[in-house]
């Protein structure tokens, strides 16, 4: 789907975010060899919002996020941050972007040879000229805010999955970023922990006031926690709007993604009745 179509559709749903966007993406393309992953992705993220990109596995959500966070280089397209087009080839532009944005990885990417406190202190130690005592104070504050103050000397392997997630978030917010990218923050978690992670993001987003861009395939949780949701399908954004608009949308892809549990319920009922079930898609 082209960027123009995306923008048009987003406008039709009345989802244009209020205020100047902190992040604006236009016509982003990315291929790996012959495989095209992103085909003209475009959207805007309003400052202070929770923007969630939904999509099935393999739709290119993580690649999109990595392109936005300058981990992967897009083939073509334009990324504007706070009104300025980002040229990641320039060192100062990269430095400024990384100073103002943080990234929370799917697998947390914590440094396993460093303690919780050292993990949180690392970005401050390496990117600021703060004194050791100030770094320690700010790192301990971040750990305290994420309720990890009793685990400052623990290594990541000594923490539970939920604690590791919180530790990764503490490291992401310790530099007081304006925007945090979350890559599948609930991947592989049970429903209770999924809820807890989304609640944590919503809570700390409110406390610290950062803009959150989340990619996930957990529809119900995302609809509850987000201000705007976009649906990435076959490399393009096929829907962008508020959770209410997503719930009411008659777009076939949105409907099939949103109502997947209804479809499963119908299929299971048919199986129980002994009817022959023809699956549209292989798992």
């Amino acid at each position: 789907m082209s960027a123009t179509t995306t923008t048009t559709q987003a406008s039709r749903h009345g989802s244009a975010p209020s205020g100047a966007p902190i992040l604006h993406v236009e016509d982003l393309h990315k291929s790996f060899g012959p495989r095209t992953v992103l085909r003209g992705v475009g959207f805007s993220v309003a400052r202070g919002s929770v923007f969630t990109v939904l999509g099935p596995s393999g739709a290119g959500k993580s690649v999109l996020l990595k392109c936005l966070a300058n981990i992967e280089e897009p083939d073509t397209g334009k990324i504007s941050f706070d009104g300025r087009v980002m040229d990641f080839r320039r060192k100062d532009a990269r430095a400024e972007f990384h100073r103002r944005c943080s990234f929370l990885f799917q697998g947390n990417a914590l440094f396993d040879s460093l303690t919780a406190l050292e993990n949180v202190a690392l970005p401050l130690e390496q990117t600021t000229a703060l004194s050791r005592s100030e770094i320690r104070k700010r790192s301990l504050d971040a750990l305290k805010q994420l309720e990890l103050e009793d685990h400052e000397d623990h290594y990541p392997s000594m923490l539970s999955g939920g604690m590791q997630k919180r530790l990764a978030l503490a490291r992401a917010i310790v530099t007081r970023p304006e925007m945090v990218f979350f890559d599948e923050p609930t991947a592989g978690l049970d429903p209770l922990r999924r809820n807890a992670v989304f609640a944590m993001i919503a809570k700390y987003q409110k406390v610290f006031g950062f803009t959150a861009l989340i990619v996930t395939h957990d529809v119900p949780e995302a609809l509850e926690a987000s201000s705007v949701v976009a649906l990435l399908y076959q490399g393009g954004i096929c829907f962008c709007g508020t959770p209410a608009e997503f719930s009411a949308s008659d777009h076939p892809v949105v409907a099939s993604f949103r109502d997947s549990s209804d479809a499963l319920r119908a299929t299971l009922a048919a199986v129980r009745r002994g009817e022959e079930v023809i699956s549209d898609e292989e798992p």
Partner: protein, 258 residues
């Protein structure tokens, strides 16, 4: 046929260029890395102090064998008095820098390649980049700088222990007078020999640590393997290439300095 040879050459040249850029980027980014001294100190501990036992053991046995073999060869010509010269020149000019480097590749180099490979796999390197921290400066530069300190020190230690091993087998077991042995050592080893030894140690240190770091850092590029297998393949390649590089560089340096 010609095409595949061409492809092979182009791939190798490109690889060499990429490696050179990697080293240059690591050295350049060292200047912008904060708290570098503490990371260098840690790397010296890992590459130096932790590798000391293996250097002591290999150095001792190398000296013992040199003393034993040297005594029996020199005995044929009635020149046992030159045992100290034989052991010391063999150690200082060749065996200490080469064997110490190969031992350090086996211990510190392989560990470095595996560590960086795992950090690449678990996205720790990507995490550093997203924090605005230069992964070259933070992870590689301290190791390269530390190698300039730890390799010459380990090589010197290897020489000392090796000389002592040679004296042990030559004097204590085979009856060469200790005074004759040590005075022969003193007369044989010149300043140029010591200089050659340290030039080799410095070169091998930089070569091996940069090769191991390069392989581990790019473990995700290993063809046909992913995850743990890619780390294993990168580590194996790092050790093999480092050993070849040490021997090849030894020949080149010797041919210039001999």
């Amino acid at each position: 046929m010609v095409g595949s040879i061409g492809n092979f050459v182009v791939t190798r040249v490109r690889g060499l260029g990429d490696y050179a850029l990697f080293v240059a980027q690591s050295v350049a980014s060292a200047l912008a890395t904060r708290r570098l001294p503490s990371r260098i100190a840690r790397a010296i501990y890992e590459q130096g102090f932790r590798c000391m036992p293996v250097i002591l053991i290999v150095g001792l046995f190398t000296g013992l064998v040199l003393g034993l073999q040297g005594y029996h060869v020199l005995n044929r010509f009635g020149s046992e008095g030159l045992l100290g010269a034989l052991v010391s020149l063999s150690l200082v000019r060749e065996m200490a820098p080469v064997l110490a480097a190969i031992m350090l590749v086996g211990q510190a180099g392989s560990a470095l390649a595996a560590e960086l490979g795992i950090q690449r796999n678990s996205e720790q390197i990507a995490a550093l980049e997203t924090m605005g921290v230069s992964s070259h400066g933070y992870l590689v530069a301290p190791r390269l700088i530390a190698s300039l300190v730890s390799y010459p020190m380990q090589t010197a230690l290897f020489v000392v222990v090796g000389l002592w091993g040679g004296s042990l087998s030559g004097s204590l077991l085979l009856g060469v007078d200790p005074g004759v042995y040590w005075s022969s050592v003193e007369r044989a080893v010149k300043e140029a020999d010591v200089r050659e030894c340290f030039i080799k140690a410095l070169t091998f240190g930089l070569l091996t640590i940069s090769i191991c770091a390069y392989q581990g850092f790019h473990a995700h590029r290993v063809r046909g393997s992913t995850g743990a297998r890619a780390v294993s393949a990168a580590t194996t390649k790092a050790v093999v290439l480092s050993c070849i590089a040490v021997l090849a560089a030894d020949y080149v340096i010797t041919s210039f300095l001999v």
